[in-house]
């Protein structure tokens, strides 16, 4: 840090989905406890580049500001993470902000992450309880199952695990760790397990669990510390059991 009183940002900007990206630099006065999102808010309040040129405020997603909504994911110094929990004092400067590289850019740092929603729909990541009459209370879950399921339920759909995964790209169309982990979550649920076979079968389609090369970046970047590699191993075993069983059942 050359001048401890200011903070330097290099931000990759893009005006529209098909536009050419370019970089802009911003210098902000240092404040205690500032994070990347609060810095972006300051830039919006006074959108002037380091060189003194007026520009537009930076577009980015954010909502909860406390790492629970999952909207503010971006590349910070080249790594996928949440902007609201990225403390400026812990980052090397200049702080490089880029939109996720594997998702279509909408504008600046905002990207379209709807592929995760599509994937969750493909594996039916829900508990089927819709009916025309009251189904009553569901079966009880053992303490052990609850303890295994709770961490998985913390997923905030930020897509960091997918952005950082070497296998998640346009040529593999890999589903990514989050969806695999959600399959485990809903298969653990006593009522959700009604769709277990369908979920596992879905993960055997092209772009399914087989594409994982077990590089383990997903578990490293996940802001919610979800045991993703454990989920991949467990669901991998379930998928194999079903695939081999089906050789004889079908």
């Amino acid at each position: 840090m050359a001048n401890p009183k200011t903070v330097l940002f290099k931000i990759k900007r893009q005006a529209a989905p098909g536009a050419q990206p370019h970089w802009e630099e911003f210098e902000l006065a240092w404040k205690p406890g500032m994070n990347v999102t609060s810095s972006l808010m300051e830039i919006a309040a006074n959108p002037v580049t380091r060189a003194g040129k007026a520009t537009t405020p930076i577009t980015y997603d954010s909502n909860c500001l406390e790492e629970v909504c999952g909207s503010c994911a971006m590349l910070i110094n080249g790594r996928a993470r949440m902007a609201c929990s990225a403390l400026v004092d812990q980052l090397d400067q200049p702080i490089r902000l880029e939109p996720f590289s594997k998702f279509p850019v909408i504008r600046d740092l905002a990207v379209d992450r709807s592929v995760l929603f599509e994937n969750l729909k493909q594996v039916k990541a829900w508990v089927p309880i819709d009916g025309t009459y009251d189904l009553g209370s569901g079966p009880r879950m053992t303490m052990e199952d609850q303890e295994a399921a709770y961490p998985l339920s913390r997923c905030i759909s930020c897509c960091c695990c997918m952005e950082a995964c070497p296998q998640f790209n346009e040529s593999t169309g890999f589903v990514g760790a989050a969806t695999i982990s959600q399959v485990r979550l809903f298969n653990t649920h006593p009522t959700g397990a009604a769709l277990k076979r369908e979920r596992l079968a879905a993960l055997m389609g092209d772009g399914g669990i087989q594409e994982c090369g077990y590089a383990q970046n997903c578990v490293e970047v996940c802001p919610k510390d979800i045991p993703l590699t454990r989920s991949i191993a467990e669901v991998g075993g379930e998928v194999m059991k079903q695939a081999i069983g089906d050789l004889f059942r079908k």
Binding site: G18, E118, Q122, A202, L203, G207, T229, A233
Partner: protein, 243 residues
């Protein structure tokens, strides 16, 4: 700047990664076959091949006896093609395809698992190049050992002796294959749901490290068996070994 308006350049919007294609394709089968083939038959053969080659330590006669024994197995040609050549060709070619489609990013995410991911590809590639060279020179060209097993030691010895680059390639090939197989066991167990727990995976990591070092040690040991067999002159070695 020109005053007349020109039509805006066509914008190409990045489509992004496609969602899961549930119920479509057969890449699951192909990928799991690739994974399995790495253990059996290829891995099993690799272990057999390393162990058989330690006979070189006991000298030409013992080595050639092993060559003779292996070539006396029933249906040896079917075994060779069905359990060795075709599986390696499948695993190797599909492995290159997997490699090509992955986007290694160990620079941005320099963590152990990610380095191992990258290394698994490089060691596989090096092993593939080596295996092609090795089978071409040892199995498909030169003295045919199936019909002349007594020339076994001599054939390897002649290929290595006085050819430092070949020796180096053998060392690199042996180390790459050992590494690739050892970490492959670890990967296989993680992907097939055998080691689901963190602790189990860590423990298996140590076991695989021992397997890898052991295989590398055995391979290098056999190589030195050929290299240390320094007969007074290469010429006399040949006549000695042929008969």
């Amino acid at each position: 700047m020109a005053a007349t308006a020109s039509p805006p350049a066509p914008i190409s919007v990045k489509s992004g990664v496609a969602p899961l294609r549930a119920g479509q394709g057969y890449s699951f089968l192909l990928r799991r076959l690739h994974s399995l083939s790495g253990i059996v038959p290829i891995g099993a053969f690799l272990v057999e091949h390393y162990v058989s080659n330690t006979e070189a330590m006991k000298g030409p006669a013992a080595y050639n006896a092993t060559v003779k024994f292996l070539n006396s197995l029933p249906f040896v040609l079917s075994l060779e093609w069905g359990l060795i050549f075709l599986p390696i060709l499948y695993h190797g070619l599909y492995g290159v395809w997997i490699w090509y489609r992955g986007e290694g990013n160990a620079g941005d995410y320099p963590w152990m698992g990610n380095w191992m991911y990258t290394l698994q590809r490089w060691t596989g590639g090096i092993a593939f190049a080596y295996i092609i060279y090795h089978t071409w020179t040892m199995r498909f060209t030169g003295v045919h050992l199936a019909t002349e097993p007594d020339a076994g030691f001599d054939k390897v010895y002649r290929a290595l002796y006085g050819h430092p680059w070949v020796v180096l390639f053998y060392f690199v090939g042996v180390l790459a294959a050992s590494w690739h197989f050892a970490y492959g066991i670890w990967l296989f167990c993680a992907k097939w749901g055998i080691t689901t727990g963190e602790l189990a995976r860590r423990r298996l990591g140590y076991v695989c490290l021992v397997i890898g070092l052991g295989m590398a040690g055995i391979g290098v040991y056999s190589l030195t068996g050929f290299l240390s067999y320094l007969a007074p002159t290469p010429g006399s070695t040949v006549t000695l070994l042929r008969h």
